[in-house]
Amino acid sequence: MSDIKTTDTMLEVRDIKRDYELPGGFMKPKKTLHAVKGVSFKLERGKTLAIVGESGCGKSTLARMITFIDEPTSGDLIIDGKKMDTRPGHLTSDMRQKVQIIFQNPYGSLNPRQKIGDVLGEPLAINTDLSAAERRNRATEMLIKVGLGPEHYNRYPHMFSGGQRQRIAIARALMMNPKLLVLDEPVSALDLSVQAQVLNLLADLQDEFNLTYVFISHDLSVVRYIADEVMVMYFGEAVEYGTRDEVFSNPKHEYTQTLFKATPKSDVESIRARIAAKKASAA
C-alpha cells in the first residue's frame, strides 16, 4: 500500500445537519425533527469509517446525504477535494458517479423484473455512450470480479440467494468506478458464513480499487474487523469519534459503553463466567 498516496482526504463533512418538517394538523402545530444535528468528520482515501448507532439515531440519514439522495439542511460536503453543490438540479452525473451506495436488504434493492445483466448495464447505458456489446462485456467482467459467473447474466434476482444478491448490489455500485462507497448495513441481513464471504469480498475490492468506505452497522464485531475509524451516533449527534483502537480500548461516552456491554460475548471465558453465575444463583 505504501506506493499509493493515502494521505489525501477523500471525504470531508463539516457540521452537516438535516431537519425534517413533520406536518401539523388541526390544532396540532408543525414539528421539526432534527435527524442529524451537526456532524463533522474527515476520511482519508482507501480507509474505512464505520458509523455505529441504534435505529433512529440518524446514521442512515447521514448516508443518504453523502450519496446525494437527501439534501442537507445545512453544512458542507467535500468529496475528493471539491465542495459539492447539493441543491436539486446542481448535481452533475460526474459527482454522482464518484459516490455509490449499497443498501441493507438485498431482497428489496433489486428490481424483481430486471435481469441481472440489465441491472449492471443500466448505469452504463445512462452515463456513458458504450455500445450494447461493450456494456455486456463490462457487466460480465464485474460479475466475475464479485465472485459470480457469466452464466448469471440472464437470470432474475429471485433466482439468487441473499449473499449472491448482495454481491450483485456491490457489482452494480462498482459499475461506474466510484471512489467512495457507502454501505448501509450491508451484511446484517446475511447469515454468519455468508457474511464472512461478503466482508472478504469488500476487503478485496477495497485493496484492488483503493476504495473509500463509509460502513454503517450496528454489529460491533463486524465494525472491529473492518473499520479504520469509528464514529458512534446517538440521537443525531456524533458522541464518539476516533480510530478503531481508541474507541474500542477506551470508550468515553456513556452510550458507547452501553453498546459494548450489550454486545454478546462468545469467548470461552465469558461462557464459563455465565455458567458459574447461573449455578451460584440456582444453589
Binding site: 441504534e54 435505529s55 441473499g162 447469515d191 454468519l192 458464513s193 455468508v194 457474511q195 464472512a196 464471504q197 466482508l199 472478504n200 476487503a203 450496528h218 454489529d219 460491533l220 464485531s221 463486524v222 472491529r224 474487523y225 473492518i226 452501553t258 453498546l259 456491554k261 450489550a262 454486545t263 454478546p264 460475548k265 462468545s266 469467548d267 470461552v268 465469558s270 461462557i271 464459563r272 455465565r274 455458567i275 447461573k278 444463583s281 440456582a282
Partner: protein
C-alpha cells in the same frame, strides 16, 4: 423423563423437482428448566423442525418421526382439538418478526386477553388484571395504557415484549424462541435476552432458542444443537462446543466470526470444509 423428546424427525416438502427434505432425521431432547440452542444458517431446517412440533406447517408438508413426546405423551397421535389445547398453553412460541406476528387490526390488549380467554377461561375482570400484570412483568411502561395500543404504535422491541407476554401468559412448560432478537438493535437485543433468561430462570420452563448468532448462543444456552442442511452436525454443552468443537461445520462457523479473525481476511465456511459436512474423523481416514 425429558420435557420434549423428538426422535428421527423428517420433514419434506413437495416441489416441482420432487420431494425436498428440509429436516433429515433430527433427534432433539429438552429437559425441564434447560436451555437448548439450535444453531444453523437459513435453510438448515432449524425453524421448520420446531414448527413441526408446534403443528404450524402447511398440510402439504410430510412430517414423520419415530417419536414426538411432550411430557411422555406422543403429540403426533393427538387429535386436532387436543393438540390446539396444548399449543399456546403448554408449548408457546415467540417468532422472529415481532411487528409482523401481531395482528395489526386488534389492540395488543385484545390479543393477550384472547389467549387468557381461550386457554384459561378467565372472566373479563380477571383477564384484564392478568394482562396488565403480564405487561408489567415483561417491562412495558404504562401497562394500563398500553392495553389499548395497536402494534403499529409501538417499537419493535416493545412488540417483542408483547409477544413474550402472550407466549408466557399461560405459564408454558416449554417456550420456543425462533430468532427472537434478530430484527432488533444490539442494546434492545440485550434487554430482550435478559428478559427471556430471567423469566426462564424464575419459572423453570424449558427453553429452545433458535438462532444463527453464535453470540446469542454463548450468552444463553446450556446445550447446543448445530444443524446444517436439515441434518444435525453436532450436539454438545455450550462450553465444550466453543472450546472443542467436534464437527467441521461448527469449527467453520466459529472461524467465520469476525472476532476470531486471524490476519486480514475471514475464514469462510466453504473454504473450511469444501462442502463436506461430515465430522472430523473422516478427513483423517481418507488420507
Amino acid at each position: 423423563m425429558s420435557l420434549l423428546q423428538i426422535d428421527n424427525l423428517t420433514v419434506e416438502f413437495e416441489t416441482s423437482t420432487g420431494w425436498f427434505r428440509a429436516v433429515d432425521g433430527v433427534s432433539i431432547k429438552v429437559d425441564k428448566a434447560e436451555v437448548l440452542a439450535i444453531v444453523g444458517e437459513s435453510g438448515s431446517g432449524k425453524s421448520v423442525s420446531m414448527l413441526a412440533v408446534m403443528g404450524l406447517l402447511p398440510a402439504t408438508a410430510k412430517i414423520t418421526a419415530d417419536r414426538m413426546l411432550f411430557e411422555g405423551q406422543d403429540i403426533q397421535k393427538l387429535s386436532g382439538s387436543e393438540r390446539r389445547k396444548l399449543i399456546g398453553k403448554d408449548i408457546a412460541m415467540i417468532f422472529q418478526e415481532p411487528i409482523a406476528s401481531l395482528n395489526p387490526c386488534f389492540t395488543v390488549g385484545f390479543q393477550i386477553e384472547e389467549v387468557l380467554r381461550i386457554h384459561l377461561g378467565l372472566d373479563k375482570k380477571a383477564r384484564r388484571a392478568r394482562a396488565i400484570e403480564l405487561f408489567k412483568l415483561v417491562g412495558l411502561p404504562n401497562a394500563e395504557e398500553r392495553m389499548h395500543a395497536f402494534p403499529h404504535q409501538m417499537s419493535g422491541g416493545q412488540c417483542q415484549r408483547v409477544m413474550i407476554a402472550i407466549a408466557i401468559a399461560c405459564d408454558p412448560k416449554l417456550l420456543i424462541a425462533d430468532e427472537p432478537t434478530t430484527a432488533l438493535d444490539v442494546t434492545i437485543q440485550k434487554q430482550i435476552l435478559d428478559l427471556i433468561m430471567d423469566l426462564q430462570a424464575r419459572t423453570g420452563m424449558g427453553l429452545i432458542m433458535i438462532t444463527h448468532d453464535m453470540g446469542v448462543v454463548a450468552e444463553t444456552a446450556d446445550r447446543v444443537v448445530v444443524q446444517y442442511k436439515g441434518r444435525k452436525m453436532e450436539e454438545a454443552d455450550v462450553l465444550s462446543l466453543f472450546e472443542n468443537p467436534q464437527s467441521n461445520y461448527t469449527k467453520a462457523l466459529l472461524a467465520a466470526l469476525p472476532e476470531n479473525a486471524t490476519g486480514d481476511r475471514l475464514t469462510t465456511v466453504s473454504a473450511f470444509f469444501d462442502g463436506n459436512p461430515e465430522p472430523a474423523p473422516s478427513a483423517g481416514a481418507s488420507a
